[in-house]
């Protein structure tokens, strides 16, 4: 369970950014979370609440956009969205592929702030 330490990094990062903008109040953090990031959304959400406690971010929301895994199929020569991370092959033609285009994101995209 490493979601708490990740949540704490998110809170630190948001706080730093808020300070850079002149100590604004953060109302929400927008996060991109890839299915291959190795982080569980539900665990991260509850950890986030804990991590915010007694910080200027207390009461803020974490809004998670889940990013599916997209691979490049060498046979179709096209990007393809995968339905399952248990079988890395093209959903159209079945060709195995390890060429991952996205799905590993763990990125703070934006903050909703109030001045």
């Amino acid at each position: 369970m490493h979601e708490l330490s990740i949540a704490m990094s998110i809170v630190d990062m948001a706080q730093e950014e808020a300070e850079r903008h002149g100590g604004v109040q953060v109302q929400a953090v927008y996060l991109k979370l890839g299915r291959l990031a190795g982080v569980v959304k539900e665990a991260l959400l509850s950890s986030y609440e804990m991590a915010c406690e007694a910080t200027p971010l207390e009461g803020s929301r974490l809004l998670i956009e889940e990013i599916p895994v997209e691979v490049f199929c060498p046979k179709c020569e096209a990007p393809r969205l995968m339905d399952s991370i248990q079988s890395f092959c093209c959903p159209e033609c079945g060709t195995p592929t390890a060429n991952i285009l996205r799905g590993k994101e763990l990125e703070v995209v934006a903050l909703e702030i109030k001045e």
């Binding site: 990740i6 990094s9 990062m13 248990q86 890395f88 195995p96």
Partner: protein, 229 residues
């Protein structure tokens, strides 16, 4: 000035700090020509036995070192030290995985130029270590024959993050009715093209083949490292 909420763009990787340290480590390993290999697996899959055997076999020809991560105790370091390789324990406390900064700290005082191979044994855990780059050149994921052939399907993220799969404890495969074909199929499903070795640290089965791979890898690594950037 408006008092309504507004959006400001950030676009920063949450693990940026870890990635920066990992990148610096990778560069140091590259410059020193030391091949860094990390080991991940569930607890009890035989990481330490596998590593002990590896260190013992490599010690006669190479300068080898190992960092070994555990929540508590330095039992593993004591065990690995029997191989006479340079060994250091990383005690993570409550942290369930290694991070690049822990590796960096643990290397303090070691001259990487004096090494050919560095092994980094992660904490036994198939979930958390997958997110953290340690600057390693190769990540091994170990799967023991007692664990069930479907482990790759249950933990696709970590198998996908690894470069090589090592089926361990092959000496008892028959006794536990291990279905090797199914295991290999499942490994390929979550990481197409992955290199797979089957070894027994106890009998030595498969170790020669795997060590040959490691030495070839090191030669390529050093050849690449010799090319000016």
């Amino acid at each position: 000035m408006s008092s309504g909420p507004r959006l400001v763009e950030v676009r920063k990787n949450v693990l940026k700090q870890n990635d920066i340290v990992a990148r610096a480590l990778r560069e140091r390993f590259h410059d020193a020509g030391v091949l860094a290999v990390s080991l991940v697996s569930s607890p009890g899959s035989g990481k330490t036995a596998f590593l002990e055997k590896t260190l013992t076999l490599l010690y006669t020809r190479y300068r080898v070192a190992a960092l070994v991560g555990d929540l508590a105790t330095d039992n593993d370091a004591a065990r690995l030290a029997r191989s006479r390789a340079l060994v250091r324990q990383i005690i993570t406390g409550t942290v369930c995985h290694l991070e690049a900064a822990m590796v960096q700290n643990a290397l303090e005082g070691w001259n990487l130029n004096d090494l050919d191979f560095l092994f980094i044994e992660n904490v036994g855990n198939l979930v958390c270590p997958s997110s953290y780059d340690l600057g390693e050149d190769l990540r091994f994921v170990l799967l023991s024959v007692t664990e069930g052939e479907d482990k790759p399907l249950k933990y696709p993220t970590i198998f996908n993050s690894a470069d090589v799969a090592m089926i361990t404890k092959s000496d008892i495969a028959a006794a536990v009715e291990f279905d090797e074909a199914a295991a290999r199929r499942n490994i390929q499903a979550v990481r197409p093209g992955m290199e797979v070795f089957k070894v027994s640290a106890k009998t030595g089965e498969g170790m020669a083949e795997y060590l040959e791979f490691l030495q070839t890898r090191r030669q390529h690594f050093r050849a690449a490292a010799a090319v000016p950037k």
